[in-house]
């Protein structure tokens, strides 16, 4: 006599979601970034850092310019605006002044922020506008195919410096320091714990906070300079990064395949633009 096989108890399946899914626009993934690009790692650090702050997500806006990093605004599940090339900071300025209860974060690349947007970043830092700027520095214009940037180290080859860059690059933390930024840090995307911590500190900071994130561009920068794969660049960061908190920003410039000094360089407090404008401090205003 045979018996019907026992009916297997239904397996309860939980719908699986990545822990960061609510922070990202799932319906926009996969993203456009190349394998081993550093931007995704920085975004990952950012959403984790944001989650660990007490800032309500609906009170955070991300503003980007144009370029590979300019696409960040389109992937974070927050109010986000993708401006024209170089203009993320003035848009963020208008938004931060209209909505003082919001945390406005500019997430963009070195070409966007420091070259075409250079006038805006220096003036926003000078005013101590209440925004956080995360600058992904991959030493090159990625989106347009690997042209020389104002951050490209001397000697490095790009599509517009085929025999090697002859220009002096910006030392971005030094530039921001000179303009009066209240928080300045630099980390590579290898330093995910420290980068996340720095992002948390910047998000909680009142005033103009700035983080330079050194990130690999294997597709263009590494390939053209025969530096290997993205993994090789990360290994380079591992072997050549030196943590010097409080370093004199004048000394943190980056040469071609030379030491990268990382750390928190500046962390000071002073009244923001709006506090001075509203006469809420002794820093001026009415």
């Amino acid at each position: 006599m045979s018996t019907a096989p026992a009916k297997a108890a239904p397996v309860e399946r939980k719908e699986l979601h990545h822990p960061k899914d609510t922070m990202l626009r799932e319906d926009r993934l996969p993203h456009i970034w190349c394998p081993t690009c550093g931007i995704g790692t920085a975004v990952s650090c950012f959403v984790e850092a944001l989650r660990e702050t007490n800032i309500p997500e609906e009170k955070v806006a991300v503003v980007s310019g144009i370029g590979c990093t300019g696409r960040v605004a389109g992937y974070v599940n927050l109010d986000s605006f993708h401006t024209t090339h170089g203009r993320a900071i003035p848009f963020a300025t208008g938004l931060a002044l209209a909505k003082p209860d919001m945390k406005v974060v500019v997430f963009s690349g070195d070409g966007d922020l420091v070259a075409i947007g250079g006038n805006h970043i220096i003036n926003a830092a000078r005013r101590n506008m209440n925004i956080t700027v995360i600058c992904i520095n991959n030493f090159i214009y990625g989106m347009t195919g690997g042209q020389c940037a104002s951050t490209t180290p001397q000697i490095a080859k790009t599509s517009t410096t085929p025999t090697g860059n002859t220009d002096y690059p910006f030392n971005v933390p030094y530039l921001m320091d000179a303009c009066g930024a209240t928080y300045i840090a630099r980390w590579t995307v290898l330093h995910i714990r420290r980068l996340k911590k720095a992002m948390g500190e910047a998000l909680n900071k009142k005033g103009f906070s700035f983080i330079e994130v050194i990130a690999p561009c294997a597709t263009l920068y590494a390939r053209r300079n025969r530096l290997g794969t993205g993994f090789d660049l990360m290994k380079f960061y591992h072997d050549n990064s030196e943590i010097q908190h409080g370093a004199d920003t004048k000394m943190v410039d980056i040469g071609f395949q030379e030491k990268i000094i990382c750390g928190k360089f500046v962390d000071i407090d002073k009244p923001t633009f709006l506090e001075r404008y509203r006469g809420e401090t002794n820093g001026g205003g009415k």
Partner: protein, 383 residues
């Protein structure tokens, strides 16, 4: 907030000052600007007045930044405004386009001076009229108003804000140096008598809201950042959700709608002033300061028994085609004086066709027309 936003009463002020007061009366509480002659006085009035009415003034580092702060402030829920002149207007073209594609309401005052380039900083021009329509890259439609007096600078700035909210786009007040620096009586009504169009805020909940899904009039309702809608707004071609879509299937309906929300509502937007058109054989078409000289010439012609009328454009863009076409069917010709070498006259000619002459009375700038120059052309057309 301790001061009056609406300075109800009679004043003696310039067009520049009146434009600033018009902005405040319209509810503008954010001004991002950069000094430039002959528009600086708009900026200065806003710098002085905004803190007292709970607003924010910020002097930006350049005009590209100024224009972008307006967009940021607008998405933060504020009515925002800037002022400039030719060289700054050129710099604002980049982010005028961003305002168009992201459908961001704001108002830009251009106090026109003579160009090209640095040109005549302190002297009059009307040479940016085509730039207003075509200056930013890509296809778009714009709304541009031209005041002929300080009173109209006040009134039309309010209209500009109302149009910007109704149709969700940057609206241009195309003033000129003469009107901007002219002192005249300006009557500011009571606040409750000023009709304001509120922002078209969506009634949808965040889960249902599509930022670029238009209403029947082709204009999508808006939101304000920081209210939990988690929108993505981009200068890239996008779908109704606001997400970038880089193909012809997304481009075609988006760009057509951006244009059609103006062209299909144009009958509700056109503003012009008709003077003695009923029996006119020749019609002078003008705008801004030039309309005041033109009206004097028309009055002289009428005194001489000549059948001359005057169509004064208030909305230069959208260009009021129906009235011009109607007139073209029955008159002998159009005479178009303007302080440029022929800009709006090209538009008149396009609409009027080749059946009748459209004659520009050109003036390269630096001074207003000599009435006799306009008179001479009218006599020629009447022959």
């Amino acid at each position: 907030m301790s001061e009056q936003a609406v300075l109800t009463g009679e004043h003696f002020m310039t067009g520049d000052e009146a434009a600033a007061e018009g902005g405040l009366a319209a509810g503008c509480r954010f001004f991002g600007g950069y000094p430039i002659t002959p528009a600086t006085e708009v900026t200065e009035v806003m710098a002085k007045r905004l803190p007292g009415v709970g607003g924010v003034f910020i002097q930006m580092e350049d005009e590209m930044a100024s224009m972008n702060t307006l967009l940021g402030a607008a998405w933060g829920g504020m009515k925002s405004m800037t002022s400039t002149s030719g060289p700054g207007f050129s710099l604002m073209m980049e982010n005028l386009g961003l305002g168009i594609i992201t459908e961001t309401p704001c108002v830009l005052v251009n106090v026109q001076r003579g160009g090209p380039s640095t040109g005549l900083p302190t002297l009059v021009g009307q040479q940016d009229m085509m730039q207003a329509k075509w200056g930013s890259h890509g296809d778009y439609e714009i709304i541009a108003l031209a005041p002929s007096s300080p009173q109209e600078a006040f009134d039309f700035t309010i209209h500009a804000f109302n149009f910007s909210e109704q149709y969700r786009l940057p609206v241009l007040l195309m003033m000129d140096e003469s009107v901007g620096h002219m002192f005249e009586k300006v009557v500011i009504p009571k606040a409750e008598d000023i009709k304001l169009v509120p922002r078209r805020i969506t009634k949808d909940k965040p889960a249902d809201y599509l930022p670029f899904k238009p209403d029947d009039d082709l204009v999508p309702p808006m939101i304000e950042f920081g209210e939990g809608y988690r929108v993505h707004i981009t200068g890239l071609t996008h779908d109704e959700k606001g997400y970038p879509v880089i193909n012809a299937e997304a481009q075609q309906p988006l760009v057509r709608r951006l244009c059609e929300k103006i062209t299909k509502n144009a009958d509700k937007i056109y503003m012009y002033d008709e003077r003695e058109l009923d029996d006119a054989e020749v019609v002078v078409i003008s705008y801004g300061i030039t309309a005041r000289i033109a009206q004097q010439v028309v009055n002289e012609c009428r005194a001489e028994g000549k059948k001359v009328g005057h169509l004064r454009l208030i909305t230069c863009w959208p260009f009021p085609e129906p009235i011009v076409r109607k007139l073209a069917d029955r008159i002998k010709g159009f005479v178009v004086p303007e302080i440029n070498l022929g800009q709006m006259s090209l538009e008149v000619e396009r609409v009027a066709g080749r059946g009748i002459p459209t004659i520009c009375v050109p003036n390269a700038g630096g001074e207003v027309h000599n009435p006799e120059d306009i008179h001479a052309v009218i006599r020629e057309v009447l022959k």
